[in-house]
Symmetry: C2
Subunit: 547 residues, 2 copies
């Protein structure tokens, strides 16, 4: 059987010149390694997700031009690549999401994605008409069923679509399935993906080549993990996670061992999230052309973990920590923060906010006189910190990292335009209890995050002796309710049935729903769970449901 | 022929108790006015758009319960109402977007929307399976084709869908079309909507009843304008724009005059935007349970116009203007702002930011020493103003109004966490040139906005003698390019072909695309154009297209 190259690359959305030149480079490499065909991911030509750039005729024209250039480079080797193509019919959406088969300098055939994910972070029916006809490719006497990502996912007990493309393609008796994908990471996705692909092989009894994107596109983190499954359902090759990878494989080979589980389950959930977040930070900076990050280091666990991840992603030299103590900050907070920055070798500064706070207090005094210390004064501190961090960011070209966790973001325990600022939110999809797990994972070989940071009770330190537990249920309990409400969309009755207290449930649901206005204005969040705040969770700001 | 009641109401998303009780109240009213049937808008039971609340089983169960309650109230009268219903099939999305026919206490039949808008602000295929079977209702010996909003919109030369529900329904020879809708406002939509509806009547030659939502749902402004078109294509009744309305009509009637144009074109574009924004502000506050607004009043035209609109929406007593002059503010700015607040009778305060600015400057001095005055110091002023406004907002329960216009939002001419703050953006979908038009409209009978505010060159006043035109093309030119790029999705070559300078085009496109990260974090924007920033325009933050 023929040799197939899998090119798992990190693309730049809309950078046609660079994408095209890298694709052509990998076509050459595949040829030099005697591959018969090289496979690139879904919409590789323009990067994924191009979103509303797809509505610009100019963008589509550049896709077509790039595709023609790539086709001309396919001499002595064939290629399969994802590209938007124009729907020539009068009726329907103007584009298809296509897999294009290139050979001998030409576009030989074009195959349209039939199942268009339009849920969670996906908006594909916003742009694309579904493919309705199905035909295989024949290349070097092998009949190949060419499918795009979701096309293979309609195989469970609760199918989301009324057609199944592989059932149609099977009528032509293909010998191989190729699936080009843009399947973003979450901490369970590697298993889900592998089980879906193996279910296809089990059903259709032919080998499967799967080529995914890798690299971060703002919120969406593509973890790669491309793979080859032989006709027996054995995963005979899996490409690396979180880095570019390339491999030439014969899909008819046997597995070396009988282990059909592949390599994806080798890592723990904490390790995967850790690796994903580091890639997410790294690519956000690299793709925007920034080197340096800044963040407010409070002595608490969220900013500590964010700093460690940023130092790993960007290098300790490129991360600047700023301690911004107020009159309510405890000495241990400053000590813990300094200890961490020292452990990492990061630059840090201590910039007390007291004099700026007092100046604003006296500016506001004529209007506030006679009122008690309230949320206004608490938020004032958080906002002054943001003003200072953003001033340093603007002056020296840092991107400010947001350090809020998912539990806080969920219940609105944060100050808009204060600690909710930043270019990117590192932990906004990581619950507080997971923040602890990740911190322990970081410390597994040696203590980097001070133990005191991990062990002390969480506090925003915006008023004397404040503790998070003054206003919120304990995070162990809170996170369990949030997970069922956010990830599993359980309603109040269902939550009570799961054993949670009715009053606490009502309060948590209300906090989540009435904080929608805050989340609307916060930075993009690196997505690591199946249901992250951001593009994948869309709720009205003005509503009266459970609120 | 029978008498039909149109109930054009303002619903609260997720407030089943209130929605149900108002629906039942209007069923009673229709009965008391001898209507045979009363028609409510699309998804009236839960409000539109419910967005991801549709993914909560609890939410759907409440819809079903509300629908049953409403059905029980339909005795001696029939009703048609929109409600999500469960897809009983194994395959496909779990819900339908349905029109339900209620009579004699029962749910008589359910009709599913076939064309699911999934573009711009619409995400319907995210939730709903399209209807694939079509049947008419027969009630009081009249056969009625029941359709839902988009179902009638596939009638142009460039159809977006491969089916046309009315062509299918026509096979049963209906005598009347009823369309229940959730069709949001933009400044051209009234004409578009009427021409689409009249095209249907022209094609099918039967009368049409159209019932729309009214009221604001954060960004989306529903303008009502429900109507009845007789079989000759004459608009025999049009309900009010921007307010709730109710009417009982016999659709077979003749128009009193031969004017088939209806009432919608009677108002100018400026007047419509004016009315829409006032409704948008009013409902945002009313539905969140807030009375009072605060805003920074600079003496410039954007904050002036915002203040006038807010005073009209909330009452002058409920709007507080704060002047926040710095060392760079000119005396005329303060004078113009005071004059406006006085004209309106709004409370205003003058809170100079100089001492707070100097305090922060000395806090930052050890880090900034040796650097030149830069964007960091400019932004610092804007952010200090936001800190003061938000402190007042938090202390006294105001919602801060954002005053940025669409031209600024487009090119990123604004300070994140500074003047880009606010609970809702009033002018974020109004280009600067439209801001002038609206201001002239406001002043048409008597001068409310000082002429100096309208006539002086725009300036951010963040450094000495700064003018917007130092950094940006003149707004007349800028807005024309922005309109073609944003509303019409023209690419650089097309823009040059329209006669714009190539370098300016490249610069404007780059500014728009590289400002995506700023717009991601700004308040929801009241949508008045066919392409507003926000939920209807989704672009990657990290990309390299025209940037």
């Amino acid at each position: 059987m023929m040799k197939i190259a899998l090119a798992q690359l990190n693309f730049y959305i809309g950078d046609f010149e660079q994408n095209t030149s890298r694709i052509c480079e990998y076509i050459e490499r595949a040829k030099s390694e005697n591959a018969d065909i090289v496979v690139f991911p879904e919409l590789a030509v323009c990067g994924y997700p191009p979103r509303d750039f797809l509505e610009f005729n100019d963008f589509i024209a550049r896709c077509q031009y790039a595709l023609d250039t790539i086709a001309k480079n396919c001499v002595g080797i064939a290629a399969i690549i994802g590209c938007p193509t124009i729907n020539p019919n009068i009726q329907g959406k103007p584009l298809y999401n296509s897999a294009v088969f290139l050979s001998e300098g030409n576009i030989v055939s074009t195959h349209h994605k039939a199942l268009l994910p339009t849920y969670d972070v996906f908006d594909e029916y916003r742009y694309f008409e579904p493919g309705r006809t199905f035909h295989c490719i024949t290349y070097k006497e092998t009949k190949i069923a060419l499918t795009i990502c979701e096309d293979l996912w309609n195989i469970g007990n609760d199918p989301l679509y009324v057609v199944n493309p592989m059932d149609e393609l099977l009528k032509e008796q293909p010998e191989l399935i190729i699936n080009i994908a843009a399947s973003p990471f979450h901490y369970k996705q590697a298993e889900v993906r592998q089980s879906i692909l193996q279910a296809n092989v089990a059903k259709y009894k032919i080998p499967l080549i799967y080529v995914n994107h890798v690299g971060a596109q703002t919120e969406l983190l593509f973890d790669g993990g491309s793979m080859v499954i032989n006709a027996k359902g054995q995963c005979i090759k899996q490409l690396n996670f979180f880095t570019e990878d390339f491999s030439v494989v014969e899909p008819s080979l046997q597995a070396i061992s009988n282990d059909a589980s592949g390599l994806s389950s080798a890592s723990s959930e904490a390790q995967r999230i850790h690796d994903a977040l580091i890639m997410g930070i790294h690519d956000y900076f690299a793709k925007l052309g920034f080197q340096k990050a800044i963040l407010g280091l409070s002595g608490g666990i969220d900013s500590a973990l964010t700093l460690v991840l940023a130092a790993k992603a960007l290098g300790a030299d490129n991360v600047r920590a700023v301690l911004l103590p107020s009159q309510f900050s405890s000495q241990h907070s400053v000590d813990d923060a300094v200890e961490l920055a020292t452990n990492l070798g990061c630059q840090y500064d201590i910039i007390p906010i007291e004099s700026a706070y007092q100046s604003l207090e006296s500016t506001l005094q004529p209007y506030f006189k006679g009122t008690a210390f309230s949320i206004a004064e608490e938020n004032l501190q958080a906002r002054l910190r943001a003003v200072i961090l953003m001033a340093l960011s603007n002056k020296f070209g840092y991107i400010l990292l947001n350090t809020s966790n998912k539990s806080e973001a969920a219940v609105g325990y944060g100050t808009l335009y204060g600690d909710m600022c930043g270019g990117i939110s590192v932990l906004g999809d990581v619950y507080k209890t997971q923040v602890y797990e990740l911190s322990r994972y970081i410390n597994k070989d040696k203590i980097i995050i001070p133990e005191n940071t991990i062990n002390k009770p969480p506090s925003a330190e915006l008023r004397p002796n404040q503790k998070d537990s003054d206003s919120l249920p304990d995070y162990d309990l809170l996170d369990k309710i949030l997970f069922e409400y956010i990830e599993n969309r359980m309603g109040p009755a269902e939550l009570v049935q799961l054993g949670f207290d009715e009053k606490i449930v009502a309060r948590v649901c209300r906090l989540v729903n009435t904080s929608e206005y805050k989340r609307y204005q916060t930075p993009p969040i690196l997505r690591v769970s199946p249901k992250a705040f951001g593009m994948g969770r869309r709720l009205p700001i003005v509503a009266r449901y459970l609120s």
